[in-house]
Subunit: 777 residues, 2 copies
Amino acid sequence: MIYNKGYNDFKNFIVAEDKFDARYLGKCETIMALGNGYMGIRSSMEERYVGEVRDTFVSGTFNKFHDNEVTELPNVADVTGMIIYIDNEKLNLTESKIIDYERTLNLRTGELTRKFTYECINGNRIQMVFNRFVSIIDKHVIGQKITIIPEIKDVEINIQSGINGQVTNFGVQHFAEGEKRLYDNKFLQMMETTTQSKIDFAVNTVHKFSISGKEYEPVSHVYMDRRKIGKDYNLSVKKDDKLCIEKISNIYTSRDKENEGLDIDGLKKVSYEKIKESYTKGYDSLIETSMNGWKAIWDKNDIIIKSQDDFDQLAIRFAIYHLVIMTPAHDNRMSIAAKGLTGEGYKGHTFWDTEVFILPYFIYSNPKIARSLLEYRYNTLPGAHKKAKANGYEGAMFPWESAWLEDGEVTPVWGGADIITGKSTKIWSGFIEQHISADVAFATWQYYQITDDDDFMNRYGYELFMDTAKFWSSRLEYNEQTKEYNIKDVIGPDEYKEHVNNNAFTNYMAYWNIKTAIYYYDKLKEDSPSIYNRLNEKLKLDKVYRLWKNKVDKIYLPKPNKDLIIPQDDEYLKKKIIDLTKYKNQKNVGEIFRDYNLEQVNQIQVSKQADIMALFYLLEDLFGKEIKTANYNYYEPKTLHDSSLSLSTHCVLANDLGDNHKAYNLFSCASRIDLGENMTTSDHGIHAASIGGIWQCVVNGFGGVRMLGGNLRIEPNLPDNWSEVKFPIYWHQDRLMITVTKYKLEIENLSKDNKQIVFINKGKEHILKNKICLNIN
Amino acid sequence: MIYNKGYNDFKNFIVAEDKFDARYLGKCETIMALGNGYMGIRSSMEERYVGEVRDTFVSGTFNKFHDNEVTELPNVADVTGMIIYIDNEKLNLTESKIIDYERTLNLRTGELTRKFTYECINGNRIQMVFNRFVSIIDKHVIGQKITIIPEIKDVEINIQSGINGQVTNFGVQHFAEGEKRLYDNKFLQMMETTTQSKIDFAVNTVHKFSISGKEYEPVSHVYMDRRKIGKDYNLSVKKDDKLCIEKISNIYTSRDKENEGLDIDGLKKVSYEKIKESYTKGYDSLIETSMNGWKAIWDKNDIIIKSQDDFDQLAIRFAIYHLVIMTPAHDNRMSIAAKGLTGEGYKGHTFWDTEVFILPYFIYSNPKIARSLLEYRYNTLPGAHKKAKANGYEGAMFPWESAWLEDGEVTPVWGGADIITGKSTKIWSGFIEQHISADVAFATWQYYQITDDDDFMNRYGYELFMDTAKFWSSRLEYNEQTKEYNIKDVIGPDEYKEHVNNNAFTNYMAYWNIKTAIYYYDKLKEDSPSIYNRLNEKLKLDKVYRLWKNKVDKIYLPKPNKDLIIPQDDEYLKKKIIDLTKYKNQKNVGEIFRDYNLEQVNQIQVSKQADIMALFYLLEDLFGKEIKTANYNYYEPKTLHDSSLSLSTHCVLANDLGDNHKAYNLFSCASRIDLGENMTTSDHGIHAASIGGIWQCVVNGFGGVRMLGGNLRIEPNLPDNWSEVKFPIYWHQDRLMITVTKYKLEIENLSKDNKQIVFINKGKEHILKNKICLNIN
């Protein structure tokens, strides 16, 4: 990967590769993916390669292939593919001589560009440029442009290009074939319908040709095959002429809010009208509109990092780019998938990743989107109720993996190989990884504290609180011996410990959830009787409230031992300790499973990811620095960071604890999970939570921004490499621009006509001690 | 393609290629496919290539993906694939330097061999040999062997190999995932179940390693993924040592007759026990058994052609090889697919191809198998009744495309693009291509006449006759004007003429069907009252018989016009005549559809394939030579031979008409449909009917063997290129060896202790006039 390709306006905005290696297709397919939250497209090449994963996803269009598999985001018919023959030689970068290869994703414009000079067997030399974008403005539109200039002699080009619905999700076909159609000898259309969820899709594509700027219509034949429609074009290009092929496509579905109620013929018609419009506009006009959209995003959201290592600046922009394209901001029936819309991993499902690792970005940067994401959880309450009921509980037991509204739990049940039994390992998360319900409540609270959005709380937020607390009170188990309430048989954030009792994170979060529910119950009853009455009627709150009051203070909350260590669960500290050197900082995660099965890993003091640290991160004011330090030093060496959720949390913690050198090292690793030099980690898609984590490291970590007890606290601690970081945040309804240097914290309130600027000048010796608590207004 | 690779025992038994071209993968995948009638495997390479079609089919295991698609033979989880790294370089023949490449299919042994020397980037040179077979004896077993010898220096090999269920049929997944399992750290097992037909599959595989003959167990890891299980092996091979990797696999299904009643756990167990047995035996022992099986087949069935062009000898053996591997001889609930088991084309469906083009081979060469194939039709009567009923008819209306027993009609409804409307072209064959019912009756009669198998007739044959004739009598439409019975709105054999009235082939065959049924009715009533009574009760024959008698002689049978031309249908001769030069003898069939849509083609005197010629071929004694010649000369120039069913029929006809020069040219084309130099025609699978056609050209054509009115007639007419042809046939229960030279016809009765040999010596001038009619015994 090349990180320094950008100049001037594009400095630190360009992700690039300068050689093609067919062994590592997944890397750039993922990190250079295009999208807009409505849809995402992996950046597979036009021509095909073995090992490519050619995915197009549309948010929220879940389908279940079979009863014994879980619902997933289906891979939509592909429009990006093309078979290109140059003088009868099939274009293929692995076999041919390629000069000056370069592929770049421009984060600022959202355009993907691939350039090279192709040396034909027959001695010709062809300049080729491939451009591609997915519009950030008209979210249905995909544009491609291929420019071909023969340098030595005239050339014959043959292109087979159209719509290919033979693509699958790892071999699974989610669509029933619908009508295929050629209109006006130009516009190609394919209809398909998901097999189980019956969502109709219309995919349209059209080609437009010019030679040296002059439009023309080449000789062509239409072809249709199973789930395929396309055209076969024969083109002659004279030496030094410039052939330009535009391919404009769109995707519409019956799940689109604006298409609700439309039958399949309506969808056909709408999408056909739109493709005609787009055809008239053409690539350059369409991308100009989209680039203006991206400009507005960057104008509003860019974060400036002045670092000795330019990578840091690129990394935060890479994160912002992916946060934009992964998020279905347009529809509150959808949330962010663990791999965004960039891969088949985790099947398009939403985890706690959204609330704990990604939502903070949106709360501080785009509260409207944050609200939409929380409304998604509200909209999935039917599924959460279903899950609670199925497990013998009450209230809202949110699914560990979440898909469509009423789906409930969609975590797959079987995973990778167990090296001892030879069978698939059972995945227990969907059954017993239960902290998610408290995580949603926490996110709701965090959103409210930072945005002050009473309307949201009145409509959705309070109910989320009450309903999750209702779940927890039904979940608690009374321990006759200790006279306390326990939570047994769970998985905490650390997924290498299954079937544990009293996972500290889970117990504290449940406690916090109920405590906060009690607080809001009291407050509503007092201040907002109408809301109280509505919720009381809906959730039988008065009865539940009594349970809360009876139980909450009897919940067992693991306390620090004599060494100040909080036991992660009842057994963790009693388990054996082994040398983990072989498994820590490995290129491939999960190395330990080559030597142990999960049952054995369960018996070792080894963690996949932040667990106690995640507790410190969320409920940070419950614990003092001494305890945090002791636990960090105890648990981190036992943590393999085999989850991409781990490093950023540790980074923020390390920074909190004053070790900004360690924090910067952790940030450097965290920001390289996808963007870094490891060419295989992103094969199945971007690590969405880790992308949110990059922002957390910068703003919550080095920037020191935190909401504590309803107050904004900013306590920056820049790493040695950085001289300045500058980022915007929202606080309540105000938009603040925060500028941090080693000597200065500057807060500019952009929302006020009379801009308030707070300067905090720091003496060099006080760098680490700056702490301000402020309520703006 | 290379045709002369074989020496000594293997002369004209070897199909070979001596260079690898990734553009034409489909060619050898198809023509070098392995199989045994139970299963078929396309000969994709171990390593993957773009454009490969990696198919494994098990006969009769049909599954329907979705209500709007038709049932098809599902592509079973692949065991042939392997990812091979040599010193960290991924083996790929398109990118690496390859010396002395050669791939051969040995028709005599059923072994596929690929050999080359691989030049590594690091300077090493590796000899590699890949062997593969599918056992003709134990029909569940697949064997692979890879031999690797580093010539320059030591080498590190990494192999990822196992079972891959992510394969699809053109993007359609037919299986629900079942359990994946590693036994004994060695045996890999994957269970899967077809989604709609609920057929369980067990696929097992195991690896076995030796270095220079010494067995050893390398370091390995197991991996599981969605529909995937495999092992990752790391191997070190010293310079000049020989690494040998055997991969032994098996496939069992709940459709296997011997596994009926077994639940999925039983299937698991059976197949696991078998893989353990096969593992113990190893590749060399397993293939020895299979080679003995092939030896027996060749000893019994080989045909000797002494031609100036060795290709002819290879071609007939190629045909026999494929006739063996395409035919599910083990199970009378299955028939031959139009592409055998070598491709996804035509979805594993059975057409009239079986009865008219392939069955004659089996009737004359292996009557037991012929019987099984006819029993298949008997077993599909429920589907034929269903179809008749759905169309408002009675009796057995056999489906144009046939799959599982009660499926009935499975022809897809939509085909390729209509260049005028831009929509898919409607495929009418499943609705109105109805001659198939008479074709089945004809095949039954032919089988009976040649084999004398009364048992078959009593159990199945008479009923097939009565039931098809019953259909025809319900199908006939009375024409008040002509006082005749017509058959309107059909497609005859020539599929470029849709919705025609009184297609000559259809009318004559229906007439023949009813006439013959009347004959057998009378005979049974007289001679076999118990059979008559059973059938009468079952089919209400007496009533139907009256209809037959009333109608049969009033069926309109198109007569030759003044030019002796029999109109193919009511309108054909009135349609316009155009210059067909552009469309005849094209590399790609269907060229005419680039200029006309089917509706327009319908208005032109142009035929896809033999139609009147097919009538002459089946009911040959109804027409004189003069009429045949006139019609041949009229229709052949208008026939594009766009169906692979066309050339062989024309070849036999041309020979009958005395033009053995033309016949030989047609044979040369027919025998090259798959085996020839055109590298793309076989992409979707072998042309099964055309393979049967090769045999028909040789035995029925040049060999002159025909059953006429219950008698065996042999009237050979060798082409100039041939000095001798020698082939075995069955006549009734006798096995005859026929030797034909230009001067001699020799018939040896191999079944008699006292071998009867009939010599007919011919004077040179009488070559074309020899005609014998003989009833042996």
